[in-house]
């Protein structure tokens, strides 16, 4: 049996949502979305993962740097 090709589909933020998507309940602000990844669950349900710039407001800049790791 051939190996299934696992592929993450990435889209630019501009391609990810039309106006109707954006107004769905629970969507993030359009200008916070930095990347969209298509995700297929083990149950074969397709989702869009919207990777955003949003974080907990009380997170300090230092905490964020630590979380994202050292920069080269």
């Amino acid at each position: 049996m051939p190996k299934s090709k696992k592929k993450k589909l990435r889209k630019r933020p501009n391609e990810l949502t039309d106006a109707s998507d954006q107004l769905q309940v629970g969507m993030p602000a359009k200008d916070s979305i930095r990347e969209v990844v298509t995700f297929v669950s083990p149950q074969k349900t397709r989702y869009k993962i919207l990777k955003t710039t949003e974080r907990d407001a009380y997170d300090s800049v230092e905490t964020q740097r630590r979380k994202s790791g050292p920069k080269s």
Binding site: L23, Q24, A29, K30, D31, A57, Y58, S60, V61
Partner: protein, 282 residues
């Protein structure tokens, strides 16, 4: 079963631990995040008329880089709760002096009234649907520049009126008041957009009389409770009838867009009504 959006109430302001002047319904359409409310004020614009609660928040447009806005952002990112007095001082930063427009981007367009006949809308959704799509405006021919001399393009040569509700407002560094105007609370989907009570052009300008009239009406309605640097939210939202000229905010076509964090996800456009040439509140 009662709707929890209407029945969930609280008086506690988690940002400061203080109590609100009256109960808040934090799940109601158009409310700010509870932890962004610095204080509340009762507001009765007309004797015997409707009363409102003003929620003064720590929310600003995320691209604001004034020293006061940066100071407030830093304060909110410190570990633990900021001292109430320090927070109050940061939110109450002094507004710009006077009433003259102090910005530069697309100044010619922002300070002009369009030439088109007045188009009337009864639903904000219809007004938003009438705007030329952003993708076309961004690739406009000729390109829309952000220099001060950038005037209105043909898609902006319209005048519109709409009846809606004022959910939030703030005063920007360029002396414009940003109004976050939305549909009625019972209408779905929720939808908001920015409308601006402009800073004033020079007195000899053709648009001066209309812009001055709208600004005076706005300031008179709020009196001492006119919004400051951070967004004030209104509970219930204030009925508003506006007239003005649509404007495409090319400056924010990329990067952060205008609006308070709590409502931005339901602001589908960077089209604005800017400037307002008439406003009737309450």
């Amino acid at each position: 079963m009662p709707d929890p959006r209407k029945t969930t109430t609280t008086k506690r302001l988690p940002l400061t631990g203080a109590a609100a002047k009256a109960s808040l319904t934090p799940l109601r359409v158009g409310m700010p995040a509870l932890d962004s409310i610095q204080k509340t004020m009762k507001f009765a614009p007309k004797a015997g008329g409707p009363t409102y609660q003003i929620m003064r928040t720590t929310e600003t447009d995320s691209y604001e880089q004034t020293p006061a806005a940066v100071r407030l952002t830093r304060l909110l990112r410190t570990a633990g709760a900021p001292a109430s007095a320090v927070l109050a001082a940061a939110v109450a930063a002094k507004p710009p002096k006077g009433d003259n427009f102090a910005g530069s981007d697309r100044k010619a367009a922002k300070l002009s009234k369009a030439t088109g006949a007045l188009e009337k809308f009864n639903d904000l959704q219809d007004l938003i649907a009438s705007f030329t799509p952003e993708s076309k405006m961004i690739k406009h021919k000729p390109p829309i520049k952000t220099v001060p001399t950038s005037g209105r393009v043909k898609e902006e040569e319209r005048n519109v009126s709409v009846a809606a509700f004022l959910y939030a407002a703030s005063r920007e560094a360029d002396n414009d008041f940003h109004l976050i105007v939305g549909r009625g609370r019972t209408l779905s989907p929720e939808m908001f957009m920015t409308m601006e009570v402009s800073g004033l052009p020079p007195k000899g300008s053709a648009a001066f009389a209309d812009l001055n009239s709208a600004r005076s009406a706005f300031k008179k309605f709020f009196g001492a409770k006119v919004p400051g640097m951070t967004y004030d939210f209104y509970d219930p939202p204030i009925p508003v009838k506006i007239e003005g000229s649509p404007f495409f905010d090319m400056t924010h076509a990329t990067g952060s867009r205008p609006g308070p964090q709590s409502l931005k996800s339901r602001m589908p456009t960077i089209w604005e009504v800017h400037p307002l040439t008439s406003i009737k509140l309450g």
